[in-house]
């Protein structure tokens, strides 16, 4: 579950101040999916960063997966990101020097050996589920854009997060590949029971979610596709 109340965020640029989020209210029930659409720079990524506990400089209340994020220590927020949130990025952000499987396992880099072994098994299983069976040891450079984003999806799901925050996950993919990725994401979400918030330019992607908002001049407006 995601709940946001009176969330405001300002950036200082030169002598002026820009309000990217202005007293935003938002609520997404657990297990639901939602989409944020809006122009570039509208504040979609900023909102996702706040919800993921990466950006702490805001006003208002933010509760994600039952945790109030304000006033938490770095260790608490790190634990929250590790255990409760799965991130997907537009640029995939896979590390070139690691294999597909090691990229998936990044979130348990500092885990004990037994836990790592356990997650390695799940990582292989997830890679198989996203259609990358036998490609675990490939470096990202040997994978296509769609395959890389599927690795990123497996990484986001590794620790069975309660919330997935996806920032333009199909932005660098051709429409057909993007479509396939969304089908895969929906299937995995059904299996895992996670809440999804997706920031996208693509109205076709947004149409597939349970709820949709447009972010415009710092305000969230319910968006109903034509």
């Amino acid at each position: 579950m995601i709940r946001v109340a009176q969330l405001s965020k300002r950036y200082t640029a030169g002598n002026g101040e820009r309000r990217v989020l202005d007293q935003v209210d938002l609520s997404i029930p657990a297990g639901n999916s939602a989409a944020l659409v809006g122009a570039s720079g509208a504040g979609k990524t900023t909102l996702l960063n706040i919800l993921g506990g990466l950006d702490l400089d805001y006003q208002g209340e933010v509760e994600v997966a039952g945790l109030q994020l304000r006033g938490r220590s770095d260790v608490e927020l790190s634990g929250f990101r590790r255990d409760c949130v799965g991130f997907m990025f537009q640029d995939f952000h896979l590390l070139e020097h690691l294999s597909a499987l090691d990229n998936v396992l990044l979130a348990c880099r500092f885990s004990a050996a037994a836990e790592r072994r356990q997650f390695a098994q799940r990582g292989r299983q997830l890679l198989a589920e996203v259609g990358l069976v036998g490609r675990e040891n490939e470096r990202p450079s040997a994978l296509s854009g769609g395959e890389r984003q599927r690795v990123a999806l497996a990484r986001a799901l590794l620790r069975q997060p309660k919330v997935i925050l996806a920032d333009e996950p199909t932005g660098n993919l051709d429409p057909a590949t993007g479509q396939r990725l969304m089908e895969l994401l929906e299937k995995m979400l059904r299996d895992e029971g996670a809440t999804l918030l997706i920031a996208t330019h693509d109205e076709n992607v947004a149409r597939r979610t349970d709820r949709r908002w447009r972010l415009e001049r710092g305000q969230l407006i319910e968006w109903v596709p034509a």
Binding site: L54, D83, H93, L95, L106, A107, F110, S111, A113
Partner: protein, 435 residues
Amino acid sequence: MGAGVNALLAAIGADVQRDRRGLALAAVGVAIGVAALTFILAAGRGAERAVVDELLSRTPINVVRVEPKVGIAIGPLRWDAGGLLTPAVDATAVKELERVDGVAAVYPLANAGFPMRAQGGKSVLGHDVYMDMFAFGVDPAFVAADVDAAKFVDPGAGSEAAVPVVVSSQLLNIYNRTVAPAVGAPRFSAEAVVGFSFDLFLGESYTTGRSNQRVQLTVRVVGVSSRVPLAGITVPIATLERWNRTFAPDKKQVYSAAYVETRSPREVDAVVRRADALGLVVDESARLVGGIIRGTTAALSLIAALILAVAGLHTAQTFEARARARRKEIALLRALGAARRDVLALFAGEALLVGLVGALCGVALGLTGAWAAASALRQALASLPFAPTHLVAIDALVIGLPIAAALLAALLGGLGPARRASKLDPAAVLAGGHG
């Protein structure tokens, strides 16, 4: 992520596997510094042992003569050239000197507080010699290396036995080289003078006349030593103190000097400093030995500090570059749940590992170099009569100091980049900014 030690080691191990060349290069830089430090320490301490323990130990350089400043005595105090009242060498000063670390023993040198004269020599010179005499008293243990301790003991008041005396080997040398040839007298070896006896008149002098008390007794030479004063005779200190109580009862017992024997010449500097603090003076050779040892230690410390700084800078540069190259990885790790302290521990752990590997390799390299240099030097010096046996020294300091220095340098060098890496703003870096 609150990583445990095992998990952290596994993460460090994974990084090492991935970037073996980069980390090896960093370790090479540390190893070179450590090798240089090890070489200098091994060779320097070897040379120190060769000079201090082997060469200097053949001379009585670990015996420091401590005496009052030259001046006018007023009771136990003296008026020195600087115009200050300065303390004498008395029982308190002796106790203070005994407390200095490394001091094996303190031997006060007492002098007679009354006049005396000597008469005798007919049996060996053919005629008697008459002269005023100076007498000193020392602990028999101080001359035990030269004189049979069983023979150099106070005979006690009222004893008929001859009083044992020791004469200076330098005095005998001067007599043999200058006096004997000038007056046509025979020369004597150290063994030949032992057993020679003459009369001593306490409380009587050719220059100052008689005192109220006068005692005649016989003294017998029981040994020759380089440790006793040049002018006069030296008796057991118990004998001299007994005489002083009889012939100079109003004078407080102070000593003309004290001989401080240290366990090795290394401790001489501490004695010099303590004597300075007590307002006493020491002979310049002792000050020189102290200065040499202090200077060597200071030079080694300076070299160690410089190498530590260079190794630290090298590690800092390496890890700064690594942190820059790994910004995206660090940001990603943070976004995926690594806490700042995990990143800090990862970088600091890698720096320590580099320091440890560099230190071990460096110590091995430095010792090998020192051994090689020592064998070459030993061959070159083989024909010298006093070729030192210690050319390199390997002890806890030679191995421990470079390792500790390397670990400290690596940690100090790696900590700054580690802290900066842990403070990266993951959102900004992943968005393509600088974080």
